[in-house]
Amino acid sequence: MSKNAAQWSAPPKFPASHYVDSRIYTDQQIFDEEKEKLFRPAWIIACHESELQAPYDYRLFTHPAGVPLIIVRGDDRKVRAFYNICPHRGNTILYDPAGNAKRMTCIFHQWAFDTRGTCVEITRGEQGYQDRFCKEDASMREVRCEVAFGGFVWVNVTDDAPALREFIGGAMDILEPYMEQPMEVFHFHKALVRTNFKLWHDTNSEFYHDFLHYFNRITGMMQPGYYERRYTPFANGHASVGSMQIQYDKYDGSKERAVGWPGMARGGWYMVDLFPGMTYNLRTSVMRIDTSVPISPNEVLIEFRGLGLKSDSAEERAQRVFDHNMIWGPFGRNLHEDLLGVTGQGRALRQGTDSRYLLHGREENNTIHDEVGMRHYYAEWSRRMGRAAYDPYREGKAEPVRAAA
């Protein structure tokens, strides 16, 4: 039997922790608050150390809170991060997304900076500023930066946020044994998708949508051990997912992954979802990293990286690239399906569609089709936002009412 308007608008018959109000995916004010309350204080993956191999190598990254950053390896080989904003007239200092710059020179008036953020040149400085302003007054804004958890470069734009290790807690314990050997990025692409960033993180946080993927149904769902995979929630909204043995040879055109991963059982698969929008995804024989950069309530730019081992032979690397592309490349079987799925959510949830609630109600003892990963995320979301995900406008009503347009 279908529902009328009142029935459609009634809250689900679940505890409030088991559903969210769909307005959290569409409201501009909530989106603006998320950038300040979730992303600005968080540690965010900006790039990987293999993208900055030599002294003076740099990489640009737009922080999800909106800040344009330069990540640069100094002459002392230390990796540092700075605002990509000239302290003179606010111009962009470096334009190309990556390169090697012994001096970072603003094209506008040729002010120049070294890789430690020190201003080393103010053109015609004395003539214009006399003794009122000098190079010492014109340093770049440095951002906290650490290389950790598999050689990734983490940044934090807030001076007083907790340390990276404190932010991550035990969430990476499941993966750290497999990240002892140096890795190297071999794949990078961005996807601009018309959906809310949380919906992408939701997709990475629940495996019930394996029904979407023929590849996963045939290589995972139908194989022993699938329903024993478990979620483990951690402080600060992170969660990990335990492994099983994926039967890659069950998919026509695929085969058992010949290139392994150090210390990992053949066919293993671990995931770690990090609040508020990053995912480590290690399937033998490839590591994938997703970093979400929210653009608007219904638009997210996702950066995808694929990594192998720095020690790979040419043959091993080619096999990892093949394995990656089979499911995770822009033409891969699974990534397209996942992105199509969340684009459909973006279409159905945009403002004015009368979507009301999203269910997170599956309970299966924290195993693979349990929706505890999303429940755990939204508990943290609610705590940091000061809004309940099921009642974001504090309406306190059994049947929440939409805000006026």
Partner: protein, 154 residues
Amino acid sequence: MIKGEQRQAIEDLVYRSCLALDARDYKTFLSLCDPEFRYTVTTHSPEIRRDMVWLDHDRKGMETLFANLPKHNSDHSPITRHATVYTVDAARDAAEVVSAIQVFRTQLDGGATELFAVGRFHDTVKLADGVARLARRIVRLETRQLGYGYHVPF
């Protein structure tokens, strides 16, 4: 120097390969390909300063990819490949062919068309008994942002 009819046959092959793929007529597309056919999508990332391979299959791999398509959930918006053959450098029984390629995607609902991708085909064509066959196709993409991607090769 390549003969006029040879160039005609090569251009015809490139355009027919586009028409077949546009029509999702994979049988016809594969009939244009040599038994040793290999298909690769590559691009360069200025971000990580590396060449990348995004798809790489031999003929058997392409056959399997096509056969698996109905089992997957895919965007059904049709795409249209617009190729222009730029250069043909022929030896006696083979030719290296460079074509510009633009791919347009048309939404099923409403029919709006958008530019999806631009790049080049770098084809190796085998010539035998007046017949041209695709032996190798490298799709060198300039476009790297493909939104939610696509299941069918360009």
